[in-house]
């Protein structure tokens, strides 16, 4: 037995052998009959979630602009107006491989954990106080119900706040109790969907709290500098890695009040090749650093977002 074998075996056992029955959520073996206790326990939150989703979807369809009803909405007046075909409530593509069902209802029973620390809230609320105010005053059945819809929030972030009008739809979504990854993109001329980025959102609170964008990631395109939450000063170096041919990277530094400083385009390309630029900015507070590349098919074929602060 080689040492590397022992090291792999030891690490794997150390990683999970400490998981015990009491670490797992209560669950029952599936039966031919629905267990009464479990049905009762699951039914209320499921129905509540369905009602909220239905209300949000309905009201969302009737709401022409999220910015028309709430202060933290995107700057620019009109705001995004997603079409029916780009409804952010579209489901993620199903995955039918293997004998395992693609989804489970267990997740709906989870008690949302406490507020997650370490995130840099970017949009649509400038801080947790504003988010709490919406929750207390409006809530999912009041003004701007899209705040309770992670998909809508992600799409509005891109089309309204970032002003990427070529991003037209949600292509997939993985929504958990207090965090969500929502993929956004557009249809290629061939008819297939293209995902330009995955928007990362969190809830700063329980299931009634609104969603807040904290970052965005893309395939084979990254920002490695600055780091999320880093304190920066002008001009800052924005750098990362990219895989692609004849890429053209634009960096924008945005604030929630609508100001923006842009630099680029920076030519880049290669296999996981480094890119870098210097981005001066004039604003203070929380900054949304956006790097986008495109030009082949659309202006924003891929983009990544990191939140930083000037610390003042």
């Amino acid at each position: 037995m080689n040492d590397i074998d022992n090291r792999i075996r030891a690490a794997l056992h150390a990683a999970v052998d400490g998981i015990q029955e009491h670490d797992l959520r209560p669950a029952d073996a599936p039966t031919g009959e629905r267990p009464q206790r479990q049905t009762v326990r699951w039914l209320a939150p499921l129905l509540a979630a369905a009602a909220v989703a239905a209300a949000a979807a309905t009201t969302f369809a009737l709401t022409s602009s999220p910015s028309a009803t709430h202060k933290p909405a995107p700057p620019g007046g009109g705001g995004p107006q997603p079409s029916t075909s780009s409804a952010p409530n579209s489901s993620p593509s199903s995955d039918t491989s293997g004998p395992t069902p693609a989804s489970t209802t267990v997740q709906a029973t989870r008690v949302p954990p406490p507020v997650l620390a370490g995130y840099q809230p970017l949009w649509p609320f400038a801080n947790g106080t504003q988010a709490k105010q919406w929750e207390n005053v409006d809530g999912p059945n009041g003004h701007s119900p899209w705040h309770s819809d992670a998909r809508a929030t992600a799409l509005f972030f891109v089309t309204g706040y970032l002003q990427f009008q070529d991003i037209t739809k949600v292509t997939a979504a993985d929504v958990a109790a207090n965090r969500a990854d929502v993929s956004v993109g557009y249809d290629l001329p061939s008819g297939t969907e293209h995902t330009a980025a995955v928007i990362h959102l969190v809830r700063f609170g329980d299931e009634n709290a609104p969603w807040e964008v904290v970052a965005a990631a893309a395939d084979n395109f990254s920002i490695t500098q600055p780091s999320p939450g880093e304190q920066v000063s002008s001009p800052m170096t924005v750098a990362g890695r990219i895989t692609g041919v004849d890429e053209s990277i634009t960096v924008a530094v945005r604030t929630i009040d609508g100001s923006v400083d842009k630099v680029g385009p920076v030519p880049a390309g290669g296999d996981n090749a480094p890119w870098s630029t210097t981005a001066p900015f004039s604003e203070h507070g929380v900054l949304t650093v956006v790097a986008s590349t495109g030009g082949h098919l659309t202006a924003h074929e891929r983009f990544v977002v990191v939140g930083v602060t000037t610390g003042s």
């Binding site: 794997l12 029952d28 990854d181």
Partner: protein, 174 residues
């Protein structure tokens, strides 16, 4: 941990319940090595048991049932990762350690284990699955081949490449 004790209503109920009691924990541990977090691992395992229950009468014996469950867990874990393929480019600030250090089990791992697990996560999914089934589940090459529905030769090559890649990532040791 089972909370709602119910009288089995069929042979499928009884058999799946017995498997659930005996193997749920070990299958969650297996899934935990293949996905991001414990809750997802639990979901994958619950789905596997549900699928087994639905298809119970097409499965010959308990040994085959365990193999079916194991395959379901691996496939389910792979599906989760596929759906999160792009999302995984981003490391959640409080999720980075959770994803590798077993913090959800209350165990703090040393640097050695963290390095091995980090290397494991950089492997292609097939190699990672083979490594986990070989080194953690202690399955034979034939059992791994059956679980993953690949040839024994593919198991051998995946194990060898995965092992070599981990060794290289840990510093060139072979």
């Amino acid at each position: 941990m089972s909370t709602a004790v119910m009288a089995p209503t069929s042979d499928a109920d009884a058999a799946v319940a017995a498997l659930f009691r005996s193997h749920r924990l070990s299958l969650v541990r297996l899934a935990r090595l293949l996905v991001d977090d414990l809750e997802t691992a639990e979901d994958v395992v619950q789905d596997a048991f549900s699928a087994l229950h639905r298809r119970w009468h097409a499965i010959a014996d308990q040994k085959a049932a365990l193999g079916y469950l194991r395959t379901s867990v691996v496939n389910g874990s792979r599906s989760v990762l596929r759906r999160r393929r792009t999302a995984r480019a981003y490391v959640w600030p409080d999720g980075a350690r959770l994803s590798v250090d077993g913090a959800d089990s209350g165990v703090l791992l040393d640097e050695e284990h963290l390095a091995v697990l980090a290397a494991l996560r950089r492997l292609p999914s097939r190699q990672r699955e083979v490594i986990v089934l070989r080194y953690w589940a202690d399955l034979s090459e034939a059992e791994i081949a059956a679980t993953l529905d690949i040839s024994v030769g593919a198991v051998k090559s995946s194990a060898s490449r995965g092992r070599d890649a981990i060794a290289a990532l840990l510093g060139g040791e072979r």
